[in-house]
């Protein structure tokens, strides 16, 4: 799911050809890995800190892979400044990623929960949050 989302981000540039594909592919893989780790309980849904750190490592690696496979001239200042710059941008990417991911993930889990126990377990977590919302709605009805 997350892979699909990151691919979507890459998709705008995807048409540019190899350069974009070289970025979209690692981003999609890292996005997918995030979802797997979320399923295994390494990450908690909706928390920013760990996701920010994750992408601070994953995003520069993805960009480096792109520069090696299909150079766009980003390495002119040297590898160090390049990676540092990408790590800073990665924090912004992480905010957008988490936001879109959190909105799309439950829909995907509902489809996968039937035959995937990890997806089922994760869906349960999201359902617990949904119950809180539901409880608040009942409170609204009782409140007036």
């Amino acid at each position: 799911m997350a892979g699909g989302l990151t691919l979507l981000a890459g998709q705008s540039t995807g048409m540019a050809g190899l350069a974009a594909l070289a970025l979209a592919t690692p981003l999609a893989l890292f996005g997918g890995l995030y979802s797997v780790l979320l399923g295994h309980g390494v990450f908690r849904p909706g928390t920013f800190g760990p996701v920010g750190l994750y992408w601070m490592a994953a995003f520069p690696v993805s960009r480096l892979a792109q520069e090696i496979l299909a150079p766009t001239g980003g390495l002119v200042e040297g590898v160090g400044p390049f990676l540092a710059y990408q790590a800073m941008i990665a924090l912004g990417f992480a905010i957008g990623f988490l936001w879109v991911h959190e909105r799309a993930m439950p829909h995907w889990l509902m489809r996968r929960a039937g035959d995937n126990p990890l997806a089922k377990e994760l869906l349960e977590k999201y359902l617990r949050f949904a119950r809180v919302v539901s409880a608040r709605k009942s409170a609204r009805k009782g409140g007036r």
Binding site: G10, L91, F129
Partner: protein, 496 residues
């Protein structure tokens, strides 16, 4: 807390709490239970409206332009502007979440004419469809479709969608979230491809050059532009006030006791609307614990989502602008002029030559997206705010219901917008432009004063703002009004 307590008439406990909280001269607020705060970030997200309204031309155009003209050191003013707005957001949320009322109702509790001032300003400033033009012009660059056609089609589409929606808030939150998510992800990718470590270091270090103001900035030509850019750092004009309506309608805090606004097609299903907000028992430690949970939730929203995203988008766009000038120095000349479209096209071309032609189109796509976000957000917010004030404070309008009032204001502004796009100047006749710009910035100073009065006089003592928060909001009033009047008296010009 200071409440009047009516003892229960029978031995059996009452179903509803009979106590009330008296605030101002309007109807007192009954005491009700505060709902539990959400445990995580992703359930509710009214901040998305502020981000949609806040991330506009100020972030994508005005500030990158000032950086190219005066250097990155000028960005300290942006840091102050956005940080101030984050604190304003927290304080607006305080009243809305504690009572389930908008800040307009809070203002009416203090002094009714104060509320009518905002009612009139909203109509004067926001009825002009000028904000559509930049987004539509960017769309024209990509597709060749004339911008007036796109703008009118956009206006009608917004009207139809909001009319058919079952619950307008839910629809809009979902649409804006996806649009902003795409904007944030995409801007980060473009900035990663065209920018450099040097660009981002100068952009960020410039934010801490507190006090830097070059001689050129202190001229009649540029000072008003800087005042405008400070006011447009983050949400400008009345957008922070409208945020209280979105908080209420998202069910945050005591907003849970208020019904949601439905689209015109579903107006018949509207639930009964109470005349006033509610208050929770601030003497009850369990209720105060829940309140602290809500404050944590909104603080997270203010700092990460609002402050973080606004900062990120503007840093990305500034980095892109700096890269654009490095690639094509002619961009600087284009950006010095007043023609926004030319400057954005020049930036897009420079970005294209850095990456690929597609990157340039993506860049213009983001500008179109920002225009679309602003249109959706502004039309909804304007109609929501005006309907709220009309419903609560104009006798006889309750019969119509909130959904119909919302639809009247929405279609009113759409029809007026279409007529102006076809037959008149979109930003309004040039003679009143100055007045509108003045009013917009003046409203920001005025809402800081209103906020201080409402939060410190209308809320129970345990949930009033801390002293440092009052100091920051007070500074906000001096900052906006001071710069505005200085510009007016020193240079005879209001806001650029």
């Amino acid at each position: 807390m200071d409440t009047s307590n009516t003892p229960p008439a029978t031995a059996t406990p009452p179903v509803e709490d009979q106590r009330v909280w008296k605030a101002g001269r309007l109807e007192p607020m009954p005491i009700r239970k505060l709902p539990d705060a959400p445990p995580s970030v992703h359930i509710l997200g009214p901040t998305v409206f502020l981000v949609a309204l806040g991330v506009g031309m100020g972030e994508s155009y005005m500030w990158p332009r000032l950086v190219l003209l005066f250097g990155p050191e000028i960005r300290w003013l942006f840091l102050i502007g956005v940080t101030l707005q984050a604190v304003v957001m927290l304080e607006m949320a305080r009243y809305a979440m504690a009572t389930g009322e908008s800040i307009f109702s809070g203002a009416a509790r203090v002094f009714k004419p104060l509320m009518w001032f905002f009612f009139v300003v909203a109509i004067a400033v926001y009825i002009w469809p000028g904000h559509l033009s930049a987004g539509a012009a960017a769309f024209e660059e990509i597709t060749g479709i004339p911008w007036v056609v796109t703008a009118i089609a956009g206006l009608i589409l917004v009207g139809v969608v909001f009319t058919l929606a079952k619950v307008i808030y839910n629809l809009l939150e979902n649409v804006l979230s996806l649009l902003i998510g795409a904007l944030v992800l995409g801007t980060a990718v473009v900035a990663a491809m065209v920018g450099s470590w040097g660009d981002v270091v100068t952009t960020i270090s410039g934010m801490f050059s507190i006090g830097y103001l070059p001689a050129e900035a202190m001229t009649a030509a540029w000072f008003p532009v800087i005042v405008g850019a400070c006011a447009f750092a983050g949400p400008s004009g009345m957008q922070q006030m409208w945020y209280t309506l979105h908080l209420r309608d998202s069910g945050a805090g005591m907003g849970v006791h208020q019904p949601k606004i439905r689209g015109l097609r579903h107006a018949g299903e509207e639930e009964e609307r109470p005349n006033r907000g509610f208050m929770f028992d601030t003497d009850d430690p369990a209720e105060m614990a829940k309140w602290k949970g809500w404050r944590r939730w909104v603080t997270f929203d203010a700092l990460l989502l609002f402050w973080g995203i606004t900062m990120l988008v503007t840093i990305s766009f500034t980095v892109i602008a700096q890269a654009a000038v490095r690639i094509d120095p002619a961009v600087r000349t284009a950006i010095q002029g007043d023609d926004r479209e030319v400057a954005l096209t020049a930036m897009s071309n420079a970005v294209s030559s850095a990456g690929s032609s597609v990157l340039g189109v993506v860049f213009l796509g983001f500008i179109a997206l920002i225009g679309l976000n602003a249109t959706l957000g502004l039309f909804d917010s304007f109609s929501r705010g005006q309907a709220d004030m009309t419903y609560n404070f104009i006798p006889g309008t309750k019969k119509l219901g909130m959904s119909k009032l919302y639809a009247i204001f929405l279609w009113g502004v759409i029809i007026f917008g279409i007529l102006i796009l076809l037959f008149g100047p979109a930003d309004g006749p040039s003679g009143i432009l100055d007045t509108l710009a003045f009013l917009s910035t003046f409203a920001m100073g005025a809402y800081c004063v209103t906020l201080l009065l409402v939060n410190n006089r209308m809320l129970p003592k345990p949930i009033r703002p801390r002293w440092w928060s009052n100091v920051i909001i007070g500074f906000g009033a001096v900052f906006y009004l001071g710069m505005l009047f200085y510009s007016l008296f020193a240079y005879g010009v209001v806001v650029g």
